[in-house]
């Protein structure tokens, strides 16, 4: 880690530019948040209620019962179909892949999850290695997320759009000083069906 603030490499931004960028982002956010703290107008409240009404207000009891019965029937049909058709299907690998003594392991998400909130992994390497994280759609192989040059062993998904994530494959590489992978870990995770 570069602790000499006067030293600048070609691939680094000058300190004053970093501070200016931080202040610019912070200034806009503070202004917007300050405006937001004013009481909501009736029109703004209507917009919120309109958008969330169907999520917040439960369906009538008879409709819920029909929905539950239909869901149960579908689940039963799916299980029956699976038992008769999946015998020769290749088995899915268990969630989490252990690579041996010198390992990198995905801690979260793993297996069935309620929501994709954070990516977390663990390495046997001491110090502060760097990582690259990739998330793929398990069905299509499409790249959903890639972050490289991470110092932490976790990545928050708090401000990311994961609405398209259903069943995913997570891969994490630990990188050496030249950016080459020296260790890898992987896992699969999927959203619990409602």
């Amino acid at each position: 880690m570069n602790t000499d603030r006067g030293d600048r490499r070609d691939e680094e931004l000058a300190e004053e530019d970093v501070l200016r960028a931080l202040e610019r982002a912070a200034h806009l956010e503070r202004e917007s948040v300050a405006e937001a703290r004013a009481p909501a107008s009736p029109g703004e409240l209507r917009a919120v209620e309109g958008a969330l009404r169907e999520i917040w207000e439960p369906a009538p009891r008879a409709t819920r019962r029909r929905v539950w019965l239909a869901a149960a029937a579908l689940v039963l049909a799916a299980i029956t179909l699976w038992r008769f058709t999946a015998r020769d299907a290749p088995e899915l690998p268990p969630p989490g892949v252990v690579l041996g003594q010198n390992e990198l392991r995905i801690l979260a998400p793993e297996g069935q999850v309620e929501a994709f909130t954070i990516l977390r992994w663990q390495t046997s390497t001491r110090g502060t290695p760097r990582f690259e994280v990739r998330v793929y759609d398990d069905a299509t192989g499409a790249l959903l997320l890639r972050e490289s040059d991470l110092r932490a062993s976790e990545l928050s998904l708090e401000n990311r759009d994961t609405s398209a994530w259903g069943r995913v494959r997570i891969e994490v590489d630990e990188l050496d000083s030249s950016g080459e992978p020296v260790k890898s870990g992987g896992a699969r995770a999927w959203l619990r069906s409602p």
């Binding site: 948040v33 046997s124 890639r146 110092r151």
Partner: protein, 199 residues
């Protein structure tokens, strides 16, 4: 179980005082408490204002109709993403960053910006051609929680090193050390090669 080596401790979660209260509100709203949902609805109403303000700052690339669509999408996405809200910042800061990101995504999908290079930011360039606000937010998300917290308390909440030290139960000198180490990391993350990837 990892054999050999030291397990890295990244359980640091100081967060902000308002963020902690907001997490409690979110949990109560998710649990279905009517009072909490009413209060949350009042707080979420700022989405309309924030999107309108950002749209105006960027030269009104979206029509009123498109802005309504984005508002609807953001509100639903915020509710669905509420379980992931961890209180690292206040609810309004979390909402603002979601609005910022959603508006950029909408501009991308409606092709409002021409001549994009791979990974280029879509918001108007910074006056000094430096990192955009989106670059800054993405860089913050790549930091360790403690490092991100120090930067946000210093720049976004404008606390002094003494105040940050008090909030994090450590000395101001330790906070300064963390702060300058993180600035050094951000110099590299926000360097000329920052538009390398990420979905």
């Amino acid at each position: 179980m990892v054999t050999g080596g030291e397990v890295q401790d990244h359980s640091f979660r100081a967060g902000t005082q308002s963020g902690t209260e907001d997490v409690a509100l979110a949990r109560r709203a998710l649990a279905g408490e009517p009072d909490a949902r009413r209060e949350l609805a009042g707080r979420l109403a700022c989405v309309v204002r924030m999107l309108s303000s950002l749209n105006a700052r960027w030269g009104r690339p979206l029509s009123a109709h498109d802005l309504e669509d984005v508002t609807q999408d953001v509100l639903v996405a915020l509710w669905r993403g509420l379980p992931a809200f961890a209180g690292l910042s206040s609810l309004e800061s979390w909402i603002f960053r979601s609005c910022h990101r959603a508006l950029l995504a909408r501009l991308r999908s409606s092709r409002q910006v021409t001549a994009l290079s791979d990974g280029a930011a879509l918001e108007p360039p910074a006056p000094d051609q430096g990192p955009t606000n989106d670059d800054v937010y993405q860089a913050l998300e790549r930091l360790e929680p403690r490092a991100r917290c120090v930067i946000e308390l210093k720049h976004f909440e404008e606390l002094t090193f003494e105040e940050i030290g008090s909030r994090l139960s450590t000395s101001p000198n330790t906070v300064k050390s963390w702060y300058y180490q993180t600035i050094a990391d951000l110099r590299r993350i926000l360097g000329p090669g920052r538009r390398g990837g990420g979905a």
